[in-house]
């Protein structure tokens, strides 16, 4: 199939107007050698065959249910009204709103987004969105370096491992040093952080709830950072902010994170969006687009992209970042979704998730499984007898999708992260507890055997 409107007559007429006698002639500027490469891509399909092919591929996936998988992306309730409104084609097929008179739809929705994110984080300034949580952490570190003119970054390993990897990738070429501070068991130790601090430190980066799901003592960590004149960067789960103390309240200068949990499907990890909110002092250092309020010639309120002097299309090599396209549509999904749920709805989601997770943990303990104790939000760690990936596989074979492997670097041995959300039903919990118990039991038996064998 194709999407071309051209009839043979159209083509003849247009070539005539242009004054060439063939399509090929339009490509005369291309060196001979480049023409007609042999591109090995299958022939086109009609729409029925196309969807048939895609449905076959989709049938080879088993979408999880019950919200048991976490690790930065979680399945949450998205009301039917959210995608209906956010995915209206006027929004979906528009470009960046560079002509404000005919882009008030997106500009105002983005202003609403900024307002909501500042409400959640308590910090007064938000940009219009970033790519994802991980790259937002990296951009936040760069911002801190620009602002403080210091070249070392202190980060807790409680920050999502992939976010730390991305930050490392971004910072390396700029010779910015990264001091990673390992968790003590489950949380970040103030002493460990402090021991790394000095007047060369641009920022301290801590995630709350941390990657393992446990809560950090954010205010103390923020103070420690400020004591050496470093910025404190809080990496947060925006949904958790419906009930947890906000980054502003704990003293953060910058809040960043991934917005998927606010109303985007899990999408195999993308697209979602990253967010960044900052204190007034950091406004001019903020990367990415910002929408501001103003008036038109008739005095009517209107919205427009503003403070663009920070951006690449104006400042080029002196821009605060090279970001151009952001993740506006995913941020719009979150905007509509937050308006649909309202504060109470968000609080319900957060509260129900926490309760479900704690119920799950208790039931696992009752079943004799090794839940690592601690104050966790809606994810927590269970130690297993078998390697995490094997446990996850064994669960998947029972059509239960759960168990994010805990990297060995955390020194917790074989362990998985379990999550729960408001979508987790009691039977999801029961099934998981049974399945895990079985799997563990089998492993124990297996180990027994090995030992016996060893004995004789």
């Amino acid at each position: 199939m194709h999407y071309l409107p051209h009839t043979p007559e159209d083509i003849a007429h247009m070539l005539k107007v242009i004054g060439v006698d063939s399509i090929e002639a339009l490509f005369a500027d291309m060196p001979e050698a480049l023409h007609n490469p042999d591109i090995n891509v299958p022939a086109g399909l009609d729409e029925v065959s196309l969807l048939h092919h895609l449905r076959e591929l989709a049938a080879k996936n088993q979408p999880p249910s019950g919200g048991l998988l976490g690790g930065g992306t979680r399945q949450h309730f998205i009301p039917s009204v959210t995608p209906h409104l956010a995915m209206q084609s006027e929004f979906v097929t528009a470009y960046t709103p560079y002509q404000p008179e005919v882009a008030q739809g997106l500009l105002q929705a983005t202003f609403e987004y900024q307002s909501m994110m500042t409400e959640l984080t308590g910090l007064p300034i938000s940009n219009a969105s970033m790519y994802d949580g991980a790259s937002s952490v990296a951009e936040a570190a760069l911002l801190a370096v620009r602002q403080t003119k210091r070249k070392r970054v202190v980060v807790s390993t409680g920050v999502h491992p992939e976010a730390r990897e991305v930050m490392a990738t971004y910072l390396k070429p700029l010779d910015i040093a990264i001091s990673e501070v390992s968790l003590e068991q489950l949380t970040t130790s103030i002493d460990a952080i402090t021991s790394q601090l000095g007047d060369d430190v641009a920022c301290v980066i801590v995630q709350n709830p941390n990657f393992l799901g446990y809560l950090e003592t954010m205010p103390a960590l923020a103070d420690a950072a400020h004591n050496v004149g470093a910025l404190f960067i809080a990496v947060v789960d925006p949904l958790s902010l419906a009930v947890l103390t906000s980054p502003a309240e704990v003293g953060a200068d910058i809040a960043v994170g991934d917005g998927q949990v606010l109303g985007n499907p899990t999408n195999f990890g993308g697209p979602s969006f990253g967010f960044m909110t900052v204190t007034d002092a950091l406004l001019r250092q903020l990367p990415g687009r910002i929408v501001g309020e103003t008036t038109d010639v008739d005095g009517k309120r209107a919205f427009v992209l503003t403070l663009q002097a920070r951006e690449q299309h104006i400042r080029r090599s002196k821009a605060k970042s090279n970001i151009c396209s952001n993740h506006q549509l995913a941020a719009l999904m979150a905007t509509v979704n937050m308006a649909a749920l309202g504060p109470q709805g968000l609080i319900n989601l957060a509260t129900s998730s926490v309760r479900a997770a704690h119920t799950l943990a208790r039931k696992l303990e009752d079943a004799g499984l090794k839940v690592i104790p601690g104050t966790f939000f809606n994810e927590f760690v269970v130690q297993t007898a078998r390697p995490a990936t094997e446990v996850r596989r064994a669960l998947a074979e029972r059509n239960i999708h759960a168990g994010v492997p805990v990297p060995t670097s955390y020194g917790l041995g074989d362990a998985i992260i379990l999550a729960a959300t408001e979508l987790t039903q009691d039977d999801d919990i029961a099934d998981l507890v049974n399945a895990l118990s079985q799997i563990e039991a089998q492993t124990e038996k297996a180990l027994q055997k090995v030992l016996e064998v060893a004995h004789d």
Partner: protein, 503 residues
């Protein structure tokens, strides 16, 4: 076209508190009232959060998010959609942005994959991995490169990925410290120099020759062993094909520099020519341009990067690999990339968009892709002639590729022309870019526009000049019929109001 409700709005919102015809359109916050709710999630009873999480960790004040009924929510965002121009409702010929039709079947396809999780067992997402693997191979074929990463989240992100790989490559060759510059043409998109800076390189600009191509002599002057890379767009931002590309590639490689291809203009050559064959070492593609994933009002885009074999060891991880065993083929993540620059983002890229782009490629197939560039280039050349007939000036007047740059007649401002277009229901072209042309009007009609729409577009531009003659003021006052009229952008920047604050 239908007015959005005024009274239901104004009475609630406008400052004077009285009904007036031309009131402000309300913010969702201004439609809100405590206690209202649109969506009704399930609620799990259980222990008090204070008991589970500790009082100290709990927020003291409820975030002031809007509270609205489902109908008020629907009215608000439906009316906002009516205050927004889009490809689906308007001609939208933004140069460099490739605002082509975004097929609806892509959206159906994306829905089929929306609910899988990045951390589930790979054996439970074989379909998704197979799709990604196929897409990697198709994009290798289309670009003429040896290996592809699907991770970057946008074009600029792809640029960053590519330049980081080039840096890693030079480091590996012990030239990390000696190669300190990246060369970009003065017509380059802002992301090119911005990217070079993010990777710690010094940016060297080379001028555009009278031909509209890179000034090759100027290039030679700055090209030496201190150069890490040359970043080019081909066709360039003037819509002109760099005819010396093969020589440029030779020159670059002679001094050991790497050649970077900004793929934003791939729509001009897709299916007909390949950056790999032109001698480029690294390529990024904007799937939201050539491969029809929606722009979404600014994103999410997707910027896969392709490299030649000598750079494959530096690709970000993970990539998708195929394992052919007796049990059949299986797909998995490949974390084992010796000198990988690391990760560029979480998980595996903007998967939802990768599904859309894959759907598009499967729909068109090899021949279909070739027709895309053919018709895109023909449309652009036809429109160039029409705008000249209409009285516009085309500085580099030669056969162009998928886009061209024009200028208004002497004395007229591009901004005024753009604003006048709005009253015709036509979205303006890209304005004031590239910087090498004064009052630039950068027009890219794309292949999905019909002859009638191109003629109509030209007529609008002709009509504007005619009216400007009789009534010069109208140009400065336009637009008249848009939801809001010209904005006070200085005020927006001088006294920034960046969020709603409860009155």
């Amino acid at each position: 076209m239908i007015k959005e409700p005024e009274a239901p709005v104004t009475v609630i919102t406008n400052k004077q508190g009285t009904h007036q015809r031309d009131a402000d359109f309300p913010l969702i916050f201004e439609r809100a009232k405590p206690g209202r709710r649109a969506a009704h999630p399930p609620v799990r009873d259980g222990a008090d959060l204070a008991d589970l999480l500790g009082e100290a960790n709990l927020r003291k004040t409820v975030p002031k998010l809007p509270e609205v009924s489902e109908l008020d929510l629907v009215r608000h965002y439906t009316q906002l959609a009516h205050r927004q121009m889009s490809i689906d409702a308007n001609a939208y010929f933004l140069g460099s942005c490739t605002m082509k039709y975004n097929p609806k079947v892509n959206e159906e396809a994306a829905k089929l994959f929306a609910d899988i999780h990045p951390y589930q067992d790979p054996d439970s997402v074989q379909g998704a991995l197979e799709l990604l693997y196929n897409l990697q191979t198709y994009l290798e074929q289309i670009t003429g490169m040896d290996a592809i990463t699907l991770q970057p989240a946008a074009g600029a992100h792809g640029e960053l990925t590519g330049i980081l790989m080039i840096r890693a490559y030079h480091n590996a060759n012990g030239e990390g410290d000696t190669r300190t510059k990246v060369i970009v043409p003065d017509g380059a998109h802002g992301t090119n120099p911005a990217t070079a800076t993010m990777v710690g390189y010094k940016v060297v600009e080379v001028p555009t020759a009278t031909s509209g191509e890179v000034d090759i002599n100027a290039l030679k002057d700055v090209l030496d062993e201190s150069v890490a890379a040359i970043m080019l767009t081909n066709p360039n931002t003037l819509g002109i094909f760099e005819t010396n590309i093969l020589e440029i590639s030779r020159l670059a490689h002679e001094v050991g520099a790497q050649l970077y291809y900004d793929g934003a203009n791939t729509n001009a050559i897709v299916g007909r020519a390949r950056p790999g064959d032109m001698g480029f070492d690294v390529v990024h593609l904007n799937l939201h341009k050539t491969f029809t994933t929606p722009h979404g009002g600014g994103g999410p885009g997707t910027g896969p990067v392709g490299v030649k074999a000598h750079l494959a060891d530096f690709l970000p991880k993970p990539r998708i690999k195929q394992e052919v065993t007796e049990g059949g083929t299986r797909f998995d993540f490949d974390e084992d990339i010796p000198h990988s620059i690391g990760r560029m983002r979480s998980y595996y890229g903007n998967f939802g968009n990768l599904v859309r782009a894959y759907t598009y490629i499967c729909a068109l197939g090899r021949e279909g892709l070739k027709d895309v560039s053919g018709m895109a280039v023909m449309n652009a050349n036809y429109l160039r002639i029409k705008l000249k007939e209409a009285g516009y000036n085309v500085p580099f007047d030669r056969i162009n590729m998928h886009e061209f740059v024009a200028q208004p007649p002497k004395g007229l401002k591009t901004l005024d022309i753009a604003k006048a277009m709005l009253d015709y229901g036509v979205h303006p072209m890209t304005v004031y870019f590239p910087l090498v042309v004064k009052e630039a009007m950068m027009v890219e009609p794309t292949e999905t526009e019909s002859l009638e729409t191109l003629d109509a577009y030209a007529e609008v531009l002709a009509d504007i000049l005619k009216r400007a003659e009789h009534d010069p003021d109208f140009l400065h006052d336009a637009p008249f019929d848009t939801p809001v009229r010209r904005l006070d952008e200085v005020k927006a920047a001088r006294q920034p109001v960046l969020r709603y604050t409860n009155p």
